[in-house]
């Protein structure tokens, strides 16, 4: 008769033997791994250059025609192919940032505001996290729009990304992990929190209006999470993964009704050592998943804030043609009008101004690539993920 430990060993082996057959794990791991790497690059970026104590940034005006313009989003991207010649933009006002930054909204040029700052996401070589703390200096912090102050939230959220508008925060709750880290929504104004029963798939994106999150599933389908009710609907995107490039996530277009999914060029051989060549971007209805149109854009949008408010331009991630640059392309034609230095986040301020965040450095460019203003986030933000929105 077998003894207890033998039967225990057999039982554990039974469990292991029931494991599913491996599928395309390497592909999905790559996509998710690149997302992790991008996050690290975003927070590490230019953060190696620290200005100790330089929390107060001087007021900067590079020239004097306009200041603080608030972009007015359009409902959808126009398809006009009229050629455009970029012109130098007007002046940019850079508000000062106070030393006790958590006591008031941090304003950046163009009416942009810092909506949240994550805990430091740095890891030891053995994969264990190094972060600690529950203070504004090293915790998960979101702007409470009711009080106008930043509030500290539990450190258990490994992802903490406030919406660009409103009071919701997208989180990934490590404390609930059971094979995956579930995504959820935290209400930064009223402190409620709910998590769903799945992870973040291939990636998540806040809608510009801060009411919905687009989640790209591992199969390339679109799942829309309603932030208020924390309910979701999935839309099948036929062939969603088929021509999906290295960065395979839906991003929103201005208006929060449509999402974009870049498609790689099937005629160009794939290489894992260089980013995929993008042929076009497909635009789908967020409500139905229906394909609405195809845009001849040769790159992957940097995010949902990548589109100019009038829908004429889009900022694109680095690729083989510009490995260290953020390309600004015309939506209607795909023509690249300028290339800016690589940045962690890019956000259009107005039709002709772009805010780029690289590490702690904030730079405002115009469409000619000229720097219009600079600023710097507090040193407390080093190695943390910063979310931007509209004040």
């Amino acid at each position: 008769m077998r003894h207890f430990e033998d039967n225990l060993r057999a039982a554990v082996e039974d469990l292991a033997r029931a494991a599913p057959a491996m599928n395309d794990m390497a592909v999905v791991a790559r996509i998710r791994g690149r997302r992790i790497r991008r996050r690290r690059q975003t927070v590490l970026g230019a953060a190696v250059v620290l200005l100790a104590g330089a929390v107060i940034t001087p007021y900067v005006v590079l020239d004097g025609r306009r200041d603080g313009q608030r972009p007015q989003p359009v409902d959808s991207v126009p398809t006009s192919k009229a050629p455009v010649v970029p012109l130098p933009s007007g002046p940019v006002t850079v508000p000062a940032i106070r030393a006790d930054w958590w006591k008031a909204p941090i304003e950046l040029p163009g009416g942009v505001v810092v909506t949240s700052v994550s805990r430091p996401n740095t890891y030891n070589d053995d994969g264990t996290p190094t972060f600690t703390g529950d203070t504004p200096q090293d915790g998960n912090v979101a702007l409470n729009r009711l009080t106008g102050r930043y509030q500290v939230f539990p450190v258990k959220y490994q992802v903490f990304e406030a919406a660009p508008k409103g009071h919701y925060v997208l989180v990934e709750d490590e404390s609930m992990a059971g094979g995956y880290v579930p995504v959820g929504i935290v209400d930064a104004a009223y402190n409620g929190a709910q998590v769903l029963t799945h992870g973040s798939g291939l990636g998540t994106e806040w809608s510009p209006d801060g009411k919905k999150v687009a989640l790209t599933t591992s199969l390339g389908n679109l799942r829309i999470i309603d932030a208020k009710s924390v309910t979701e609907k999935e839309r099948e995107i036929p062939g969603g993964r088929e021509l999906c490039p290295d960065t395979c996530t839906f991003t929103w277009l201005p208006g929060s009704k449509e999402v974009a999914l870049p498609q790689r060029d099937p005629d160009v051989a794939e290489s894992e050592s260089v980013p995929d060549t993008i042929k076009e971007i497909k635009v789908f209805s967020a409500a139905t998943g229906k394909l609405l149109r195809t845009l001849p854009i040769p790159g992957v949008p940097t995010g949902s804030a990548a589109w100019s408010p009038d829908g004429r331009y889009v900022a694109l991630r680095p690729d083989a043609t510009a490995p260290d640059g953020t390309r600004i392309a015309e939506v209607a034609t795909g023509r690249v009008v300028t290339t800016l230095p690589r940045a962690g986040q890019v956000r259009f301020l107005a039709e002709d101004q772009i805010l780029a965040l690289s590490g702690l450095d904030v730079t405002v460019y115009d469409l000619t690539g000229t720097v219009r203003a600079t600023s710097r986030l507090p040193a407390d933000f080093n190695n943390r993920e910063v979310s931007l929105g509209i004040s």
Partner: protein
């Protein structure tokens, strides 16, 4: 990432992916959770591949275990089974005692706290020493021994009648 490193990552997943899935499934008892667990660990490994590729398997295994049993994690109930769900108590003299006990143990394993289950998976599936288990789980060897002891006691409690068949005490040393 350079082509050679990419190829190395692909080969690693092809070579070791199934073995890692076996560990993950023993930890979770759930196919989907096992896939998510391994995929999450592989994604973290991919993000740091140039630095960790020399010790990739150890790195990924450690993440799998630690992602499952993070210190601040609440006990997961999704895979737990109540005593009422356990198979019928085996009767002495029946030919299929061992099979019945294995089934009961398999279900009982899934009701253990994640850390205790991880200790048993490392010790009984991977045949790791107490010291190796402690290293992966980031705790002291004494903690591994005490967790194993508690786990075995709990299993015996859940699988009634086990002691009748046990030839020796199942204590991990």
């Amino acid at each position: 990432m350079k082509q050679a490193l990419e190829a190395e990552f692909t080969a690693f997943v092809a070579d070791r992916g199934q073995a890692l899935l076996r560990i993950a499934h023993a930890l979770t008892g759930d196919r989907e959770s096992a896939e998510d667990l391994v995929q999450g660990a592989l994604a973290k490994a991919y993000a740091r591949w140039p630095r960790i590729h020399g010790e990739a398997e150890a790195y990924v295994r450690k993440i799998i275990y630690n992602d499952r049993i993070s210190a601040w994690r609440r006990p997961m109930r999704r895979n737990e089974v109540t005593v009422a769900d356990l198979p019928e108590r085996p009767q002495a003299g029946r030919h299929d005692h061992d099979v019945t006990e294995r089934l009961a143990l398999r279900d009982a394993l899934l009701s253990l706290p994640a850390r205790q289950r991880a200790v048993l998976v490392m010790r009984y599936l991977e045949d790791r020493s107490v010291e190796e288990t402690a290293q992966v789980l980031g705790c002291r060897p004494g903690t591994v021994a005490s967790q194993a002891s508690r786990a075995l006691a709990k299993l015996r409690e859940l699988v009634s009648g086990v002691d009748e068949w046990t030839n020796r005490t199942g204590v991990i040393r």
